[in-house]
Every structure is written in C-alpha cells, then in structure tokens.
C-alpha cells in the first residue's frame, strides 16, 4: 500500500447486519479506503452511519448516491432482489462495484449484469463469495494447485447454520430463493473453484423439514442435499442445514487422485478445550460472521486494492453466474423430485 495515494472513496448501499459490518470495515480497517457515503431507506440506519462511523454524505436513494461524483466505488449490500439492477446502475454510473452474494436468483439477471460489465472493462465488479478470501480455503486451493492431491475430482461441501428457534429465516424464505441459493451457493462456488471450473451438467436434490414446518408453503426445506455432475466426470455433493444444534459449519472436502484436503472440519471457535465430567469438549463457531470475520476484511481489502489497480481479483461475474445457474437447477430438482439438466 502506498500511503501517499489518495484513498478510494466508497459509498455503501444497505445498512442491515452485513451492510453495517462492511461499512465499519471500510471506515476503520480497510487499507486505502474511505467510507465516503452511505445509503439506507431509514433514518435510523443513516443516523447510525453518521454517529458511529462519521459518514457525512447520507442518502435514502441509491440513484442519488450514484450521482455523487466524489465516489469511486459502491458496496451493494441491499436485498438480493435489488442486486442485479443496482450493479448495472452503478457500473453505468462509472463506479467500481462490490456486491454481496448472490449476483441474482435467476440466470437471465446475471447475464444482463455480465453484459453491462463487459462494456465497462476498466471497472471492478466483485461478488462477495467470501470463502474465496479465507486463508484456509486459499491454502487448500494452493495445495491443490501445487499438486498435493493429484487431480481433484470430487467436492463434498456443507453449510450449516445453528438453528434459530425464532425462525427468522422462515419469514425471509419467500425472497431468499430457498436454502440452496441462500446457503449452498457458497459451496457451489467453492466446488467450481477447487475443481477448475468445469461445466455443470446435471443436478439432483432432496430435502426435509426437520424443525420449521412454515417453510413448506414456499417449497423450501431446512435440510437439503444435492449432487451435481460436471462434464469430464467431476462430481459434487452439497449439504445445507438451518437446524444445527451446536453452531455454524462451513466444511469442504476436496478429493483427488493422490489425496484429499479438507477445510473447516470440527468447526472450532477457538483454541480452548474443556475437560470435565462430560468428557472433552470445545465450543463451535456461532455463525458465519464468526467463521469468516477475517475473510470479510480480506475481501474488502482486495476489492479496494483491485479498484486501485494494485491487485487482480480472480473471481469473475461469470463465476457468480455459474454459481447461480447451478443453484437454480438444484432448487428446481428439489421441487420436481427429478434429475434436472443444468
């Protein structure tokens, strides 16, 4: 980082839980960045940005923030249904874009964004598949690239959230796209990354409702399983759960012809073990924030470095599009009960 270069001026759209996390990171610990504006629909949110982070340029309208000529970039952390259109608008306004995942819940929207981005090749457009920025996932990828497991041909990956007895996500279900869009899209992206981005061909999914019957009305489940077949023989197996008792699990195993590498087995929160009458135990991670805290910072730092021309980011909009394409097929299979072509 060159201390003398002008910082990248970023405006953030969306000040919910994830939005506030990214906002704080941009304001206090992202090298080379300055949180220069914030946009949120409620006065509370905007007050928070002013009071906590000292942001002065506050907007209730995304288009208005895009017209702020002092901004170099925007971070979009709004509801999923707005992702594609806001990204397109921001690119057309000449801003670099960081977009929380997913790109969109349908492939057509993804492809419209890709088309716009292709017309703005000098602007960065990064979708926040945060695991790509996690040190452990990066190490696994490096191990694979170094040939340590031979040719990778199988990924087994799972995302499990600790059960929320209040079932917040049940109310969120109608717009989340379902469990595979919401949870497994990370596993899908990681599988593609680790396997070298083969073309997905077919998908089968199944699922069950263990604890949240309210999901039935939108065709969703709280535990889902899927198998994806890729061209050339590679396979992936996904498990997503909303009902884990002990904590958050983000676990991936990549199997190759000469070995395998895993990330996240055990889901330990920290380096503490307790031994007592019940045996020997450790606390598990509470949620993905706890698991990927550092990765979120790295992700934002890499975005800013990419905007400043200091670093390339390998993750493309095409990757995000393929992740959506696979999640769509898996979701379709969950509903049809049959194998679906991707």
């Amino acid at each position: 980082m060159n201390a003398s270069a002008a910082p990248l001026r970023v405006g953030i759209a969306g000040l919910g839980r994830m939005g506030r996390h990214h906002a704080r990171a941009l304001a206090t610990r992202t090298p080379g960045a300055q949180l220069a504006a914030a946009c949120g629909p409620t006065a509370d949110e905007r007050d928070w940005a002013r009071r906590e982070l000292g942001v002065e340029a506050l907007y209730d309208d995304f288009a208005a923030m895009l017209r702020d000529a002092r901004l170099d970039a925007v971070a979009i952390v709004s509801p999923t249904t707005l992702h594609a259109e806001q990204t397109i608008a921001a690119l057309e306004a000449g801003k670099h874009v960081f977009l929380e995942k997913p790109l969109a819940l349908d492939v057509a929207s993804c492809e419209r964004v890709v088309a716009v981005a292709e017309r703005h090749p000098a602007q960065v457009a990064l979708v926040g598949f945060v695991r790509r920025f996690d040190a452990s996932y990066q190490q696994a990828k490096a191990d694979i690239d170094a040939g340590l497991i031979g040719r990778p041909f199988l990924v087994r990956s799972q995302t499990g959230d600790m059960n929320d007895p209040d079932g917040f996500f049940v109310r969120f279900a109608p717009t989340s796209g379902g469990i595979f869009h919401d949870c497994s899209v990370h596993d899908i992206d990681i599988a593609r990354w680790m396997l070298g981005a083969p073309k997905a061909e077919r998908a089968f999914a199944s699922g069950t409702i263990a604890l949240h019957p309210g999901l039935a009305q939108c065709g969703d489940v709280d535990n889902g399983l899927a198998i994806v077949e890729f061209e050339g023989g590679a396979r992936a197996m996904f498990y997503a759960s909303r009902t884990l008792a002990h904590g958050h699990e983000a676990i991936t195993e990549i199997v190759g012809t000469a070995g395998s590498v895993s990330v996240g087995v055990g889901s330990r929160r920290d380096r503490v073990k307790l031994s007592d009458r019940q045996g020997v135990r450790h606390v598990a991670l509470a949620d993905f924030h706890e698991r990927f805290r550092e990765a979120f910072d790295t992700e934002m730092a890499d975005f800013v470095a990419a905007c400043r021309g200091e670093k390339a980011v390998a993750l493309t909009l095409a990757d995000a599009t393929e992740a959506t394409r696979i999640a769509v097929a898996i979701t379709r299979s969950l509903k049809s009960g049959q194998v679906e072509t991707i």
Copy 2:
C-alpha cells in the same frame, strides 16, 4: 459365560482372507465356541486350517460338512453368489448360521432365505454387518436412543478404501455387485439402524471413475454418491470410494433435531502423533480389518452367545434384506441416471 457348558461346535465354510480371520477367532478367542470343522475347495486352505488351527474335520464340499452331526452351527464366508443357497441349506440342516454380508445381491434371494428362516425360528441366522458390533457405532446408537440428539432425521455415511494400485477389486467387480453393494451396504444398514428402520422410498446415485478405467465395462465406478429418501422425511447420503490415498475411512454422521453424533471422523489408526517439518500428522487406518478388528470378535462372540441362548441379537434377516433392497435401487440409479423407486 458358563465355563462348564459344552462349547458351540462351529464349522466354517470359506477360508479366504475373511474366512481365515473368522476361523482363527472361532479357534482361539471366541468364548464358548469350538472350531470343529472347516470347508474349502483347495487342499492349501484345508491344510492351513489343520496346521494353524488344529481343525481335524475338513471338507471340500459344503453339503458334506452340513451332514456332520456334531456341528451346531456354520459360519459362511464363501463368495457372495453362494450366500443365499448355503444359508438355506444350513438352516434346513438344522444349523445356526453366521453369514458374512451381504445376504444376497438381489431381493428375491434375500426373501427366499427369510422364508426358510421363518420355518426354523429356533435357529439363529445372523448376517455379519460388523459395524453393528463396533463399540463406537454401538455408543452412537445408545446416545441416540438416550435422546441426546433429539429425533434423528439425516445420516451421512461413507466407506472409503485405500487405493489398490493393482486394482484387485477391478477383477472382482463383475461379481461384487458394484461399489454400492460392496462398500455402501454397511452404510445403508447403519443408516437404517440409526434412523429407526424407516421404509426407503426413492434413490438417486451418481459416480465417477477416477483411477480404474477397467470398471467401465461392468458399469461400475470407483467413487460413488447416493441420496436415499425414506418415508416420513428422513434422508441419507452415501459416499463410497475405492481410491483413497491415505487409508480406510468408515465415517458416519447422524443428524438430529437437537444435535448430531459422528463415528470415525479422522480415521486415526492409533494414539500416535508425529510433529516434524511437514506439520503434525497421524497415520490413518489401513483397511476395514484394522478398523473393525475388535468388532469382528464381538460379532462372532455375540453370534455364539445367541446360539447358546445367552444373548439376543437385534439384527435380523429382514434388516439384511432391506439393505440389499436399497443397494439394488441405488445401483439401478447409477446405471439409469435417474431417480429410482425402491
């Protein structure tokens, strides 16, 4: 064990690797048992039984051994294709039967054995699903029965063998029934056991050939994945591999509404860890013999105890039949590429 009771006189059929293992156990360390006869097609095998174990009654013909009135029981460790008929013959000859898994590769054969067994209710007929006799699997089952994980609704289970560069199993493939009959049948039986024996409804399987192209000609794979749906919403996910680099894996996770329990994660051979320039490592289990050495002994001891009326064994021929029924459907799905009804 009552030291004064007469020992159970057992004849063994089949003196291959598994057969010799069971023969030695019966001869030297199974309480209440006496290895009284052995049957094998080659003189070498019979010589081994005489020389190593002091067996005097040696047969080259199974029917002849069954006519040996001194025998109370037979242990059948012959090729799979003989399992059903030999079991039927032994039951009709009035012997208790221990049979290496699987019962048969087709459901009709299983059902014929069940029908015969029903006419001989006083005789024990035990299929050697060895994991049922493993202390760790038994503990997991006890934990579930004690309510520690709430209602179990999902099993993820895998059986992986260390790659055999010589590909012995490729030559064995035409008669093995395929990877799911050969490896996953254990996982299937365990899944049913842990879930409370729900009725299986549908199956989907996929697979790939990572290292052994010779398998293609009999429609088999060296890495297989399957999802099974049970009545009432329970689900199971299986992974079978012939190509692991580091050793044998027999890993099962049972997920419930209040927790989960796993067996076998890590596949550690022993209690040794080595720390050097490469990091911290442990050796993995070499094969299922190493993993289930004690369970094989328990299994045989429980069989003998059951024959002597000292202990009930919960595993039934109906369980073995259901395991075959599911393996058949999974195997059919692997070939059809579609979801199959069970």
Copy 3:
C-alpha cells in the same frame, strides 16, 4: 503359534482386580497358554477361579503352588510388598515369572531379584510395564528408532487417574509407595525406553494435595510433578494426578532434534463425537484398564511366547530396577523438598 506344541501351563498368584484380568486372559485368549492353577488367600477368590475359568488346581499358599510340578510358569499379581520375594521363590522353583509392576519399592529388593535371575538365565522374568506392549507406544518407539524425530532428548509424560470420590487409594497410600511409585513408574520406564536407557543422575519433585487431605499423614500428594536429569543431557518431566475430572490420561511426548512424537493426547475413549448446544465433545477413557486392555493381552501373549522360546522380550529386570531407582529418588525429593541424587 504352533498349534501342536503343548501349551504353557501357568499358575496365577493374586485374584484381585488385576489378577482376575490376567487370569481370564490366560484362560481364554492367550495363545499357547493354559491357566492351570490359581492361588488366592480367600475361598471367594478361589471359587471364582473354579467357577468362571474352570481352574481345578487351587491354592491358598504360594509356596504350595510353586511345588506343583505341572506348572511351567507363574503370574504374580499379588500386593507389591510380596513381589520381590515371590519372584525369587518362583525363579528358584524353576518357573518362568510374569510379575505385575513394580518390581519393588526399594532398590535393594530389586537387586536381590536381579541376582537370583542371573543364576536362572533360562527362565523368563518379565515385569509388566504394560505400556511397552501397547501398539501406540510401540509405534512411537519404532518411529524414534527409524530416526523420524532425530535424537530424542526430552520426555514429558503424565499419568492421570479420574478422581475417586471415595478415595480408595488414600487407604492404599501407606503401602503404595506414593504417587510416583504407583503412577509415574510407567512414565519413568517409558522415558528410559524412548531415550535409550541413559543413566539417571538427579531428580526434583513437588506436589500438592488438591482433594484428598488424608494423604498428608503418609507424606503423599494427589498431584505430583517431577524433573529428572540424565547423563548426557537428556531430561524428563513427569506429572501424576489422582484427581482428574474427565477420565484417565496416559500421555507421553518425546521431543527430538528433528521432531517430536506423542502418544495418547486427547484420551479419547472411542471414535464417537457428539455435537450439541454445549459444543463438540468426546468421552475420555475411564481408567487404565480401558486404555490398555489390548496391551495387557499382548503383554501376556508375549510373556507366554517368550517362555515357549518363540519370541524375545526386550524389557529386563534391570529396566525395572532402574525405574524403581528413579521413583525412589523422586519420592525422596518430594519429601525433602530438595534436589536428590539418583
């Protein structure tokens, strides 16, 4: 094992918990052995041997059992104070001897046994340092001998027992020789074995009473620490505890110039993990019986094989003497509070 050779006829002296364990092993699962006689002071003990194991030659007097000419060997599992004299008597009666550890609580007694044994070189005299027969400790030793950790120069080893709220061992304390003789003698023997049997020079010990004040009157503690210095620079550090809450720990780390190897870290009972609201946990080993069950069998099998001339056993009476010599010095230091010469 040659099935045709006559079995080794063994008489056992001592039918307490350990004695019964060894008796059962000899009677039912030690290849080449026959439990031919048993000696115990109470009618109950002798009845047990007859009823459970079918032993017919029963003695209430050790000397009488030694006069039984049919016996090839004796297994001495009597109180520690009798070990040396019974071993001497048995050797002089022409029997092979298996002796539960320790050889004696004083060096002079050890040396008297050694002197007698030297006059009977054709007879086996094996002290049961069971960890030498444990597969994991043997693997660690093999790894060291293979050079995997370079030159070993430091051993850290601990023996911890689960707290017995009834404090049985407090009543046993006056004759046990104290915590270091009772628990650490195993660690001491292992340290010498792993380090290549260097000469011990000095010892320092400290300790505390955490839960059992009754130990104070015999100068014992329920948690003890010791450092031992060996000629040539090697060092050992021991920890012994009577008060662990979670189970039994037998953990050893051997540090070398190019790596380290550990045995027993984690003290897992089995291959089960449970995940629930409290985190992820496993059950610890309950006691040394559970930890070393297989090693006890191997130990007895190796003893019998040694008596039959089929296998050499590397562990000598001199090793047992040195272990006692070091335990004596550590115990002296605990009482003096000063460094003691060994």
Copy 4:
C-alpha cells in the same frame, strides 16, 4: 468508540520487527489511535515509518520524542535493557506508556518503575503480555472464573519456538536474560493470572542444549524445564524450547478440582487438513506473530481505549514485576542446579 473524539496521538520507540508491527497497527487499524511520531536510531527505520505509514514527526532520540507536546502516549518497543528507564522517563514526561514485555530482567528495575508509576496514577502503563489479550486465553480465564473447573491449582504451560538453524537467538542470548526470561515469562504471567495471583515461593529449573552449543558460554540452554511452588499449594510447570521442528507452540493447561481447560493444544495454523500417503496432517503455527496476530491488535486497541478512559486494563505493573521475580529465580536455579527461594 466515539467517532467524534480526538484520536490518541502515539509516538513509537523502536522500529525492529515487533516495533514495525505495533507501528503499523497504530497507523492503520487501532480504533481511536493516530501514529503521530516514531523514534529509531537508524535513518532506514525512520524512512520506513515515513514512507510506509506517513509518519512525519521522526526522532533519533527518545528524550526528544518525549518533549513532543502533541503526543499523548508512547509505545516502547526498544531493546529490553532500555525498558525500565524509558518507561520511567515517559511517565515523568506525562505520557501514557505501552511497553513490550518484559518490564525488566531484574526485580529492582521493575520496582523502580512501579514507584514512579505510583506517582502518576492518571497515566496508563501497560506491559504487553500479549496472551492476556488473546481470545482463547481470555475464554479460558472466563471459564475458570465461571467455576467450570472448580478451584484451579496447577498450570502446565509451554512456549516453543521453531528451530532457527541460523541461531539468531544465540547471538541475542547474552542480553536476552536467558530462555526463561525470553520465552517462559509469558507462561509465568499466564500461570499467575489463571491461578489468581498467588505468591510464588520456590523454583527449580533444569535444561539442556539440544542443538545450539553456543549457548553454553552464557549459561543458557535451548530447552528448559521449571517447577514453581506457590503459597497455598498451587504449582506450575514450565517448558521452553528454541528447537521445535514443526512450528511454534504456546500451550497452557490449567487443572482444577472439577476439570481442566487447555489453550493451544495442536498448534494448528488454520482449518486445513491434508490426507495423503503419509497420513492426515495439518500445518503448525510458524511463530508467535502468526499465533497472536489478533491478540496484538486487541492489546493495542485496549491500551488506547484505556488511555482514552473507555476501558480498564486489569494487567498491572505489579503483575509484570512478579513475572520478572519468578523468571529471575528460575534462571538462578538453572545456574545453581538447586531449588531457589523466590
């Protein structure tokens, strides 16, 4: 953090490896702090601070920096021999002080600092025992305070560095105070913290030179062991190594009457495991920077928060003095070979 409050203006003294780490933290990621000045003896160091961190007030003389009236606080990361005098000077100049550990290598110096600090009660003086700011050590302390292990009475703690074949620390040995001052002082501080700060009474130490004979001339060792006795019966056992092959180990176990808690067992660098022909392995932490990266940030953030009156810091100069007092006695014992009174 109140975004509108003026930042704490900090000057840093010492721009070696640790100094640069703290300088970068103060400049880029410590909430509420501003790195306003830097002091180093070489032009290279000062250039680095200007170029990399944009620091404009640069000094080659510590006293000169103290005269900079704009500074609220100083961070002293200079050679150990300067710690006490610089801290005294800074306190007398009215600055808050953050001081890298140790406070001093002799108790008299510590006590002089304490006396000065007592005359400046409004100024923060924090010695950087970084483990106190580590999330895992804090969790262990919280677990103890919550009564999860009953009454803690024993700490076993070790600090091991990966062997540096170049032996940098050998050249550093004459001024480091020896292995116990340099490495074990962290373990000593942690032991006191976890045990509730009992008074130390006696110490015994031993050691060996495994790989670095050059240490002999200053009486140091590359592997050291120590036992410390506290008033009231608590005990601690320390192990320090300069020669680990696999990485850095900072491992502590605290044993109580109802359980035990450990921190750092396994020394895993990340969440990756690799399975191949050699078994299953993970990479160990490379050094204390990698292990305590986050804790260093927390430490500095807590220092700044304390200076701003937002947070109390429990760690006192008296704690640092006691750690030195114990390290001095241990070091004396290493040289005398006898038990030393503390």
